[in-house]
């Protein structure tokens, strides 16, 4: 399932790793370390030209998980 976030004007932190290649911050990291029950995050893509961020999960998120995802996205833009 693809979740769209519009009017994202600045580059969001999608995924950042430390020098050893271990995830250290970003949407991927925060989902992994969240209370979300579904953590099957496939990828994120953002385009400055359209100011659109898409977050793609394998399945469909519950309402509670979607709310948690909304907060994670907000924290990383």
């Amino acid at each position: 399932m693809t979740y769209d976030y519009t009017n994202i004007e600045t580059s969001p932190n999608l995924s950042s790793a430390d020098i050893n290649g271990v995830l250290a911050s970003g949407i991927h990291y925060d989902v992994e370390n969240s209370a979300m029950t579904d953590k099957t995050l496939e990828y994120c893509t953002w385009h400055e030209d359209t100011q659109l961020l898409i977050v793609v999960f394998t399945g469909t998120l519950s309402g509670a998980d979607k709310a948690l995802l909304d907060g994670i996205v907000t924290d990383n833009i």
């Binding site: 969001p12 995924s15 950042s16 790793a17 994120c44 893509t45 030209d49």
Partner: protein
């Protein structure tokens, strides 16, 4: 469609002949009344001459001048996506697409350019490619590795050109992806195309 009389400069010769005017390639749709009749394609700015009095013998006039004659530089198409894009996807994501009009058969010059990011903390795990019609990879995948004296993160300018033989409608993409669960960035992606022969 109109029947008109026009002066036509073909090569070094000036012809005054019956000329039809219409849109698109006349082969299969416009019947020439006489051999030597002209047809001007307003959609593509091309001139055709009939080698037989039928609808299947129209030949595009290319002229004899330098640089490929009358068709050089025609069919010019340009698209750009200047802003930054980023992804964590290991499947190629489309950064930019160019869709051509219905091209006359010929050789074309495809130009391509983009800014591809590097990150010294990462291995070469970002890839960019140029693809035709979602099937044929023309360039890449291109990976970049930071030089030892580079800043921690930055961009390299990548680009080039390629001769492609085309006819009809085609698409060209610049795609990018990440192969190590981190973030790949690309910006200032541009594609251009024009006819050579």
């Amino acid at each position: 469609m109109a029947n008109e009389f026009h002066k036509n400069l073909v090569g070094n010769d000036l012809h005054i002949a019956r000329t039809q005017v219409g849109s698109g390639d006349p082969n299969g749709s416009v019947t020439a009344g006489i051999i030597g009749q002209f047809f001007y394609d307003t959609a593509n700015d091309n001139l055709y001459v009939a080698e037989a009095a039928d609808d299947s013998s129209w030949v595009e006039v290319t002229g004899t001048g330098g640089g490929g004659g009358g068709v050089f530089g025609t069919q010019y198409t340009y698209v750009a996506s200047e802003g930054e894009s980023s992804t964590t996807s290991s499947t190629f994501q489309q950064k930019l697409r160019m869709t051509t009009g219905s091209l006359p058969s010929g050789d074309y010059r495809l130009g391509y350019q983009w800014m591809q990011n590097y990150d010294r903390s990462k291995s070469a795990d970002n890839e960019v490619r140029v693809e035709q019609d979602d099937t044929t990879q023309l360039v890449g995948p291109v990976q970049v590795i930071a030089k030892i004296d580079d800043e921690e993160q930055g961009y390299y300018l990548m680009g080039g050109f390629k001769k492609v033989t085309l006819s009809g409608v085609h698409t060209f993409d610049i795609d990018f992806r990440e192969t190590n669960n981190e973030t790949t960035r690309i910006k200032q992606a541009r594609l251009e195309l024009w006819r050579v022969t």
